[in-house]
Symmetry: C2
Subunit: 218 residues, 2 copies
């Protein structure tokens, strides 16, 4: 039985509907506002670059004051980290599901690839890919590296499980995981929302290539 | 007959042996000095980032004055472009060779992949990957995009030639080229010079995966 495809996640709070409008219970309101800050930041970082985006720009785009921003996030580096986490969270949830699912590990790896493709072209994809390159402080860089290394390790384990159950042929799991991650991460670079193929369709073509390779007649 | 593997290129002028020392014919001396500027810049951009590297830093690292730098390059953006070109040149030469070679297109594509893997982890790999993200002027961004698009187009043509000659099975050449380029470009991100596997060995493992895919038993 193939592993269940990861469920579509509900989109995060849209930046358009201001969570500063209307009345809500305090805890819920705070969480929504914090999410709005993170989403607006992710979009600004992607459009203008991290170093070209100031907290003043961000406050202006949310129509709040800079001191208001500080109620939700301590500084710009922390915002970038939260954007990174926001992108990673659904990916980690998909990984959990794929690890728990039954069926051949190759199908579970492919289910993870479907979730990865969707996450990497989403609002937080830029931050997931570029957070590490922004010359962050040592502690922050280390946290990001560790989280990325954790995903890499789990991808390799899925590949190794496939070799063990026979659904994946004998291969170098480390190099295979790097090749898969590279192909998927690169989507965050070239993918445009107005493209003919949706992320899910791109993932299916990638999976067909990853599964059967290029070899025609010898 | 498999396509000839691309020849190893002679390494560029090392930054250690200063081309400002010794006596040479003027034209040769000028070319060497210009190459030394470009190589030193590529290394500085990779280590500290493009925006964190000033022309003053670069002049200091070469032990020359900033006005001396202007004898070879008009500005920092032009240096980044030259770094990009320096990385691209051997890649384009390899592509020429692979296009001209005889033999199945799949083998010629794989020969190109070997050259690509070596170029992307070389001194200019960072600039090849990151030049576009540095918020350059419109004209410069356009030149870089056009050069990249040219390589992508030629990779797709190699894949299409493989489908036509039967050495590559029927596939989506555009998505396949994106997946291949992504896997290779990502090497520029994770590869370290002290790694166990040399770029050529990594390329062989990638090619094995690209060729035969992951599928084991069904």
């Amino acid at each position: 039985m193939p592993a269940a495809a990861p469920k579509a996640r509900s989109p995060r709070q849209s930046a358009a509907a201001s969570p500063w409008a209307g009345r809500r219970r305090p805890r819920e309101a705070r969480a929504l506002k914090r999410e709005a800050v993170i989403l607006a930041a992710a979009r600004a970082f992607r459009e203008r670059g991290y170093h070209n985006t100031s907290l003043d720009d961000l406050a202006a785009s949310l129509k709040v004051t800079k001191p208001t921003l500080y109620l939700y996030v301590p500084n710009k580096e922390a915002i970038l980290f939260e954007c990174f986490r926001a992108g990673l969270d659904p990916l980690l949830q998909t990984l959990d599901e794929c690890e728990r699912a039954s069926g051949p590990a190759r199908e579970r790896l492919f289910a993870f690839i479907r979730g990865y493709a969707t996450a990497i072209v989403g609002d937080f994809g830029w931050c997931m890919l570029r957070a590490e390159d922004q010359h962050l402080g040592t502690a922050m860089s280390r946290r990001i590296k560790l989280l990325k290394a954790g995903i890499d390790k789990r991808m390799r384990a899925l590949i190794e499980a496939g070799v063990a159950d026979g659904s994946i042929r004998d291969c170098d799991p480390k190099m295979t995981a790097f090749a898969l991650a590279g192909a998927l991460n690169w989507m965050g670079h070239w993918y445009r929302e107005d493209a003919t193929l949706k992320p899910r369709e791109i993932a299916e073509r990638f999976i067909d290539f990853f599964n059967r390779g290029l070899r025609g007649r010898d």
